[in-house]
């Protein structure tokens, strides 16, 4: 009996010794690993999910911050563009005026429109230059698009322009094709009426109307506008003209010298086709 017990102890002891191996803890470690593998897998997945959610939240926050930054930058740029728009417009107008000034062989002066009283009765445009620039009344005022009016009154540092569409304004004009002359009288709102045109004249809508130079305010050939409507009157034609110059949006103007010569090289002589296309007529 005791031999069997001793043998059993020997065998079991050696077996345990063999089973434990060089690193006895590895069995417990492997057992614990095996038992905890499901929970480790769950924890790993949970950690991965949290990490992904954190990354997504961070990217979302970054995107929102970038969006806010871009929105602020866009608003700033819009504000800047709005602030610079008048300056750009003025610069563009100045460039166009400079080009026009080089085309006309006259001593032209330029001025800036600082105020507009056109909505009021007998209103006009106020320029920032007056007698200081040697301006005198009845000097012609024009822009690259066409004539604007004439100087009505001149003070020391300012001058008032009587626009072409004012009821009390008149300009000597002629029709481009027929060369028939008449007197342009303002109707307001960028429209004017040509008077003293004979019923025998043939006038078509879309025809260009130029200055005739007979009033000694504008030289011959400056663009005034385009014929918008022609009706037969009792004695004369009723020709309505749409003025070419944008009187409500003029910021810089050129001033002709007083009593200019009748004939100068006109920069406004545009081809008739182009004029018709511009007016949208067939």
């Amino acid at each position: 009996m005791w031999q069997s017990l001793a043998l059993a102890l020997l065998w079991v002891g050696h077996g345990v010794w063999v089973f434990l191996g060089p690193n006895p803890g590895r069995h417990w470690t492997s057992l614990a690993d095996a038992l905890s593998r499901p929970s480790q897998s769950l924890a790993s997945r949970w950690q991965g999910w949290r990490s992904a959610r954190r990354d997504a939240a961070r990217s979302f926050a970054e995107t929102r911050a970038e969006n806010a930054r871009l929105a602020a930058e866009l608003a700033q740029l819009k504000t800047q563009a709005a602030q610079e728009a008048p300056a750009l417009s003025e610069a563009e107008a100045a460039v166009r005026l400079l080009g026009l000034k080089r085309q006309i062989p006259l001593a032209l002066a330029s001025a800036r429109v600082i105020f507009s009283t056109r909505p009021a009765t007998y209103g006009g445009l106020i320029l920032d230059r007056g007698a200081d620039l040697g301006l005198v009344p009845d000097q012609g005022v024009f822009v690259p698009e066409g004539i604007v009016g004439r100087l009505w009154s001149v003070s020391a540092t300012q001058a008032k322009v009587l626009p072409v569409d004012a009821p009390n304004a008149s300009v000597a004009v002629m029709l481009m094709r027929s060369r028939a002359t008449g007197v342009l009288q303002g109707l307001g709102s960028g429209r004017a009426l040509i008077r003293y045109l004979s019923n025998q004249e043939v006038v078509q809508p879309g025809e260009a109307v130029l200055t005739s130079g007979l009033d000694r305010v504008f030289p011959r050939g400056l663009l005034v506008g385009y014929v918008a409507e022609v009706t037969q009157g009792d004695l004369e034609l009723q020709v309505i003209v749409h003025l070419a110059a944008p009187l409500d949006r003029v910021s810089h103007v050129l001033l002709l010298p007083s009593q200019p010569p009748i004939e100068v090289q006109s920069p406004f002589l545009a081809p008739e086709q182009k004029v018709q296309r511009k007016r949208g007529k067939p």
Binding site: Q3, A6, L7, L10, W11, H14, G15, W17, V18, F19, G21, P22
Partner: protein
């Protein structure tokens, strides 16, 4: 016809001699493997005194591993030897020897089993290890050391001679 068991003194002397040779043959692993199998499978098992055989087997296993100086954790061979000697003792009691042929066959089978159990136990105790070719030498030389052990254990008895 059942053979009488050798005397305990003779068996212990033979085991001691084999153990000594086991130490001396440490520089020759193939020879040591054969002596190891001889001691564990042929000389040590004794059905009437399994504890003695177990001690000899343990000594053989520890001697082999100690002289091998190769494994990081010893004891696997000793445990396998203990297991095999107990199994062989049980076989000796269960199926008593009747002749040299049966003895050689039994030793061949036990050699294969011993080889497998030893390497399994060593793998369990020390991890992966080189198997070597000692098992082949042992198996090939079964007739030699089996006959030798037969002669040594049963010499002098009438039935021990062929």
């Amino acid at each position: 016809m059942r053979l009488p068991a050798p005397s305990l003194l003779r068996q212990n002397l033979l085991c001691a001699s084999a153990l000594g040779l086991l130490f001396l043959s440490a520089p020759f692993p193939q020879v040591q493997a054969v002596l190891h199998a001889l001691l564990v499978l042929a000389l040590a098992p004794r059905s009437e005194a399994p504890l003695v055989g177990a001690l000899w087997a343990l000594a053989a296993g520890w001697a082999v591993e100690g002289t091998l100086r190769l494994l990081p954790h010893l004891g696997g061979t000793a445990w396998a030897d203990l297991t095999l000697v107990l199994f062989a003792s049980w076989m000796a009691g269960r199926w008593p020897l009747e002749g040299l042929k049966g003895w050689l066959l039994r030793l061949a089978g036990l050699s294969v089993l011993h080889f497998l159990v030893v390497h399994a136990a060593v793998a369990l105790a020390a991890g992966p290890h080189p198997w070597g070719w000692g098992w082949l030498w042992t198996l090939l030389s079964v007739p030699l050391w089996g006959w030798l052990s037969w002669r040594l254990l049963h010499a002098g008895s009438a039935t021990g001679r062929r």
